[in-house]
């Protein structure tokens, strides 16, 4: 049999390019297939308007000039759910997005494109809490450590720089009596700078006369992590280390990896070999022309994300497994904010505002193993208003006043009140909350043959956090309010987000249930998974990508050993 590649990887998001780089370095011919566009590339100068060629493997074609043209910094242009450049949809924004149905309401924030959802992520790269891995996962935390270290060195991950909003956050946390954490292996509560996959600021940052031009090496603190970071002299040196800027150039440098954007995989192909089912390749559809084709390889790695990976399993009619698509965790978010008086800020910071649009979107954090995570949040105003004031399923003005709660507002705020609160935008410090939510088999992705798009039955997503999740979230919210109060906030707002915001979807193809400890699927040999779906649980609350990337590194090593003799 002739093969198109040694390995085919489906999806160039948080996990896929990590596996591609590792396999490429071993000299294995690897095809990385991505459903969305490729930004910052000379072969696709107008990625949202023209199909361009089929694929490319030349790192010299990456272009930071083109990247800056594509990433306009405008939040609606970049992040609109329907037409944004970072949406789950076709490269051509005149076409509708690819629909997912969430019967309990909300929206799934994922992006197609080379870089996947890391195109817009904050690059917070903490490790899992050891206590959420040991004795729960099939592998130990210690097993993960060398892979964490490798990814942290490759991205790289560094302590985030401090701007006014972080200083205020740390001031509050310290006054509230929490210790400063000095380890990446967190076993007790405390605060610390975010371990971010963002280059440290360039030396010019302290030269007040210096005018930034976007080609600096390092973070210029301009607050657009979420709207697309294009700061850097080359794509490979872009300040925020989305995989399109980190692992993708490294994978291309190996000379063994080709990336094909605009290629939607619709099916995993299998055959029976010596009585067991093995993966042999994929069927795909060119998203611009609609042409379909097949590619085969010795090994297939799915890295399509926590929703599309189970979808591919289902749409490929792979064997039944009661955990496929099930056990979704998502950190049930919330957001607690404080509004400060100018004179108080003058006293604490020596300036009258905190300017949430200055600095990395999230550069301070507070970890609490057993409950979850709090982290600083500062955004441009459209996204800021959405996070703070719109994600609840009840209105502040319809609540019965409760003097026992530490917040002055809770729930959706609209009308005059919203206009007034938004006038305090420059003096608002926000804290995002991630709950250590528990795995529940009722939560997850299912499919109905009734609802289909051009790629097959679409995902129907269910997520109802449990009673314990609510308790943890409420405790964390109270801690966040206390930190803000201690920092001197005059009023406190709780967004009280319904479980509407899907941004940390994980654990839908859990290790130990759908894949083995090397991330090969239990029921189909030569089929591996390298994205958030293999995480066994919610990690205790920490942001998932670093752990996915550590596992993807390990998975590539394991599969090379098993099927390519270690090369």
């Amino acid at each position: 049999m002739t093969y198109d590649a040694d390995a085919i990887i489906i999806g160039a998001g948080g996990g896929g390019p990590v596996a591609a780089k590792a396999l490429g370095e071993l000299g294995l011919k690897t095809l990385l297939l991505e459903a969305g566009p490729w930004y910052g590339h000379k072969k696709w100068p107008r990625p949202n308007e023209e199909r361009g060629p089929q694929g490319d493997n030349n790192p010299a074609n990456l272009s930071s000039e083109l990247l800056r043209k594509c990433f306009t910094d405008n939040e609606d242009d970049m992040n609109n759910y329907v037409t944004g450049k970072f949406r789950w949809g076709h490269a051509d924004r005149n076409r509708p997005p690819w629909f997912r149905y969430i019967p309990s309401g909300g929206f799934i924030w994922q992006s197609s494109g080379v870089g996947g959802t890391t195109l817009l992520y904050f690059a917070n790269s903490p490790r899992a809490f050891p206590g959420a891995v040991d004795d729960l996962w099939p592998i130990s935390y210690r097993t993960l450590l060398p892979y964490y270290e490798k990814v942290e060195a490759t991205l790289p991950v560094v302590a985030a720089p401090m701007t006014a909003k972080e200083e205020l956050f740390f001031f509050g946390a310290q006054k509230a009596g929490w210790p400063r954490l000095k380890t990446r292996n967190v076993t007790s509560p405390g605060y610390r700078p975010q371990p971010n996959a963002i280059f440290s600021p360039p030396p010019q940052i302290t030269d007040l006369q210096y005018k930034f031009n976007g080609a600096e090496t390092g973070c210029t603190l301009r607050g657009h992590c979420i709207n697309g970071c294009s700061i850097g002299p080359t794509v490979a040196k872009t300040a925020k280390r989305s995989t399109f800027a980190s692992y993708v150039p490294l994978a291309l440098n190996t000379g063994a990896v080709e990336i094909r954007p605009n290629t939607f995989v619709t099916r995993i192909l299998t055959a029976t070999e010596k009585g067991s089912l093995v993966a042999t390749g994929v069927s795909f559809r060119d998203t611009w022309t609609g042409h379909t084709g097949e590619l085969n390889a010795k090994v297939v790695i799915v890295a399509a994300g926590a929703i599309e990976t189970p979808r591919l399993w289902h749409n490929s009619h792979l064997p039944y497994n009661p955990w496929v698509g099930k056990g979704l965790t998502n950190h049930w978010f919330d957001c607690i904010s404080g509004i400060f008086a100018e004179q108080d800020l003058m006293q604490i910071l020596g300036m009258p505002d905190v300017k949430p649009y200055v600095g990395q979107n999230s550069a301070a954090r507070f970890d609490y193993p057993g409950l979850g995570v709090l982290q600083g949040l500062g955004l441009s105003p459209g996204l800021f208003a959405s996070f703070l004031y719109t994600l609840s399923d009840s209105y502040d003005f319809l609540r019965r006043p409760d003097p026992a709660v530490p917040w002055n507002f809770c729930g959706k705020v609209t009308g005059d009140k919203l206009a007034r609160l938004m006038q305090d935008y420059p003096r608002t410090l926000s804290i995002l909350l991630f709950t250590d939510d528990e795995v529940n088999q009722h939560n997850g992705v299912s499919f109905s043959s009734f609802l289909q798009d051009e790629h097959g039955p679409i995902p129907v997503v269910t997520y109802r956090p449990g009673h314990k999740d609510k308790q943890k979230r409420d405790k964390l919210a109270a801690i966040a309010a206390d930190i803000l109060k201690k920092a001197g906030a005059k009023s406190i707002l709780r967004a009280d987000c319904a479980p509407y915001l899907f941004a940390h979807m994980q654990s839908t193809m859990r290790m130990g249930y759908v894949v083995d400890e090397d991330c090969e699927t239990l029921q189909v040999k030569r089929l591996y998974i390298a994205d958030n779906s293999v995480l066994n649980n919610s990690l205790g609350g920490p942001n998932p990508t670093l752990t996915t990337q550590a596992l993807a590194t390990r998975t590539a090593e394991k599969l090379a050993h098993k099927y390519f003799g270690g090369v």
Binding site: D76, D77, Y81, I205, F212, V358, P381, D393
Partner: protein
């Protein structure tokens, strides 16, 4: 019974084949924008240029939100007309059940629909009823008719769309907003940014205040 059936079939046909934005649809979304993000110091913004922008934002988003394959062909389902009708019908249910706190302007209702005739706070009460499925779902148009999932899927994003439309750069697009996404250009400084003191995107800030700790220790 039979009447219900014909109404449901009629609304299914309208949903599938009505492509034009109905006049009341724009009125409903202008009213929604007015209740979520009124212009500061001006609680009644109905009919303002800003509300027209906001309504266009709602309508574009909802009309491009859902695409499914029907009879082997991908089709986009315009949701704006149906969602506006749902808000009008739920508004009527709010009034019928006496849950509105302010009287509705019935003269206004006949031209612009019941939702727009409500006080801004009562419009939020309508959304709240829908969010908690406290409406008679059999009284709603297709695709919301007896379908709690589609009601929640749409209602849960309405407030967010209002604030995103107002506080993002959208209002700066001027007339180019009605073009395809690639043709939109910022022609003026967005009103929402001005209101909140956001200076607009910059290439960098001299905002560094040191580092809490330069290195992690293990």
């Amino acid at each position: 019974m039979l009447g219900n059936f014909f109404t449901a079939v009629g609304s299914l046909f309208q949903f599938l084949f009505q492509r034009k934005v109905l006049p009341q649809t724009a009125a409903v979304f202008e009213a929604l924008a007015e209740s979520i993000t009124p212009l500061p110091g001006n609680p009644v913004s109905a009919g303002s240029e800003r509300d027209k922008y906001a309504a266009a934002y709602y309508i574009y988003t909802l009309d491009h939100y859902v695409s499914l394959k029907v009879c082997f062909k991908p089709s986009t389902f315009g949701l704006a007309n149906a969602a506006a009708k749902m808000l009008n019908m739920a508004a009527k249910q709010l009034i019928d059940s006496g849950k509105n706190e302010h009287p509705a302007d019935s003269a206004f209702a006949s031209a612009h629909g019941m939702f727009a005739a409500l006080h801004t706070k009562d419009r939020c009460r309508v959304i709240s009823l829908l969010e908690h499925l406290q409406v008679d779902l059999a009284g709603l148009p297709v695709p919301f008719y007896k379908n709690p999932g589609t009601v929640l899927a749409v209602v849960s994003i309405l407030t967010m769309l209002g604030s995103a439309g107002h506080y993002s750069e959208w209002t700066g697009y001027g007339a180019t907003r009605s073009g395809p996404p690639a043709a939109r250009k910022l022609v003026q400084f967005p009103a929402g940014w001005q209101q909140v003191g956001y200076p607009g995107p910059a290439k960098g800030y001299h905002g560094l205040r040191g580092c809490l700790r330069d290195k992690f220790s293990e």
